[in-house]
Structure formats: C-alpha cells, structure tokens
Symmetry: C2
Subunit: 209 residues, 2 copies
C-alpha cells in the first residue's frame, strides 16, 4: 500500500478537543498509526463544551457522574502505561483552551499541526500546565520554532473564530456526542478505543484520486 500513490488519498477525520482526556491518547497516537498506513489525517478541532450543552449536560460526564469520573482517571493511568505516555492528572478538568483550539483550527492544514497538537496535549495531560493561557500557547509555538505571533494573529482573526463555531455546529449536526470521534467515509467511530478500527476501515475503502 505505501507504494501506491493513490492510497495517500485515503483520509480519516479526527475530531478532538484539547480538554478531552481520551483525545489526548489519540492525539499522541494517530499520526504514527496513520502514516504507517499511508492514511491522511484531517484534523478537526471542535469545542466539546457546546456539544455537551446541546445534549443537556453542563459539564463533562466525567465531572457530572462521580463514579465514572473516579474510574476514568484509573483507566487513563492504565491506558497511558499501555501506550507509554506520561500522565499527570490536570488540576483543572476539563481545561478550556480556546486560543489553543483556534490555533489548531488555523493550522489544521499546516505540516506542524501534529506536533503542535501533541505539544499542547502534553502540556495539559503530562505537565499540568494551563493550556488556557496565551503564554502557554505561545510557549508551545516557540518551542516548535514556529512564527508564534503570525500564527496567533491568524488564530484570532474573526473569520477563524467564526470557523471554530461553525466546525462545532458541524460536529453537532454530524451526531458527534463526545471526543475523540473519527469519521472514515460516512462511518463514525467514537473514542480512542476505536482508532485502530477506524484506520482498519480506511483500508477497506477504495483509494480515490
């Protein structure tokens, strides 16, 4: 497959929010897995908060349901150990990270998007840094050697802010109810546990030019 140029046109849409703990697992894993299969990732940052509110929840289910919340962090410890990822339970959860999300949207088609998303996730879930603060977002971009100010300006442009609202609306319209969510062809896959299944499904589809 990697030798077939057409196969590079197989795509997986990755819908995620930097505040979402299971999105952390997928963000750290997806690029290596997709590259190995020659699948292109379409990065789709969206705001999970408005999606939850639309469903009638005023917070993450992991906060609203204390039993599930207690479990989720045990599960995260085990999953991170399994994947070889660091984990420090964020002192604020879920962390709103509006600027970080706007940067992700502005950079979604840039070659640095994967590295940027991993960096932000790592700051939130491994280092317990406040990814909601502009300083931390700037630091992440600096660390990656990117033109920080130019990227922040693009992220803060009205058109980009509007696009993030629209992308979030689009998530709701597609039936997304949590993150991460993957789309391959018309098929929806929910949760980090389905990342491999979604990529397997990619490979069953004809590659398109």
């Amino acid at each position: 497959m990697p030798d077939d140029p057409l196969s590079t046109t197989r795509t997986i849409e990755f819908w995620f929010d930097f505040g979402s703990n299971y999105s952390y697992l997928s963000t750290m894993r997806i690029e290596a897995l997709a590259d190995a299969r020659n699948v292109r990732i379409v990065w789709r940052p969206f705001l999970l908060g408005p999606v939850f509110r639309q469903l009638g929840f005023d917070n993450s289910p992991f906060v609203l349901q204390k039993e599930k919340g207690a479990y989720v962090w045990k599960d995260m410890e085990r999953q991170c150990r399994k994947y070889g990822l660091a984990l420090t339970r964020p002192s604020t959860f879920p962390r709103a990270a509006l600027l970080a999300m706007r940067v992700a949207l502005a950079g979604a088609q840039e070659p640095w998007i994967g590295g940027y998303c991993r960096k932000i996730m790592q700051l939130n879930f491994a280092e317990d840094r406040d990814i909601g603060s502009p300083e931390v977002v700037g630091e992440a971009l600096d660390t990656l050697g990117l033109p920080t100010q130019r990227i922040i300006d693009a992220a803060l442009a009205d058109a980009n802010k509007l696009r993030l609202r629209e992308q979030t609306e689009s998530a709701i319209n597609k039936g997304i109810f949590g993150a991460p969510t993957f789309f391959v062809g018309g098929e929806m896959f929910w949760g980090n546990d389905r990342l491999e299944d979604a990529l397997d499904y990619c490979e069953t589809l004809p590659a398109r030019a």
Copy 2:
C-alpha cells in the same frame, strides 16, 4: 502458565446484565479468553436498571441520549462483525430479564453457567427473542439438556431473589456504573473494550493457592 496448578486460582469477576448489549460481546468471548490463560471466571449477574436509577438515570444512556443510541447500534454491528458474532437489534431494548438473571445467579458456580449465559445472550441479541419470558428461559435450559424445573425452582427461591438484590447493591457499592464491568484484584475495568486488558492484568498478579 497453563501447567502451573496455582495459576488456576487467578480470577476475573465478570459483572453483567443480559439486557446490556456490550455485556453480550463479553459474554460470548470471556470463557474462551479466560480458559486460554487459565483464569477462573467469577460470574456476577447484577441488575443494571437499579444501578442506573441510583445514578439518576431512568433508563439506559443508549435510550436517554439519542445521538449515543444511534451510534451504539452501528458500533455493535461493526464489533459483532469483528468478533464473528451474529446481531439482530432487539425489538425491545433494554430487555428486562429478571428470571433469566435469577437463573444466572443460582447457577453462577455451576459448570453450565458459561453455556447458559451465551445461550440467553444469543436469544436476545442474535434472535430477538423475549428473554424476559419464562418460556424462553425454560427453552434455553432445555436446549442445554439441564434439569429446567429444578433450576427454575432454585432461581425463584426467596433466598436467591434476595441475593440478586444484594449483588446489585454490592455493584453500586463497588462503584460500578455500567456493564460489563470486570474486577481483577482490586482493579475495576469497564466495558467490553477492556476485557483483554483485565485479563492481561490478571497475569501480572501472583497466583494464590
């Protein structure tokens, strides 16, 4: 491992409800997987309805949240295809199956428990039969060549009815919020997606005599 007689004392507790669709997947898979690792299964039927009510839900989240409900049956189709399991979406969901659950509790330590549970699950999720009806439960036991009347009598004994309520209370006290749930040592694993992880964790524990 299979040659070590002590290793047979490693155990996994399997908490399930016949109405739960993801419990279907685990029920069909667990015995073969556990046998291959020489792990003993402790079958723990419990009533998911009272657990949901305790958490403030008056039905399955797959019914209460229509987006998640729509997704779950697509996911079930794909999961069943992956595991080679038949699936017919039950015309009533979730199906209450009190007698079937009482039989599972009465027979939890019998050699036929695995076959019985698979049979009931198959009737519900592959054949869309009403496993809430005594006739269907009787038919399942008959098919397995078991002493149906004696088993039903034991299931309907007051002490057994009480034990099912107590086991359900115990599920709540253990922090169970869904099914299937597995316990290995003190560790809780939630969902069919964690069955392999739970069994892997078994193998990290010292076998006890």
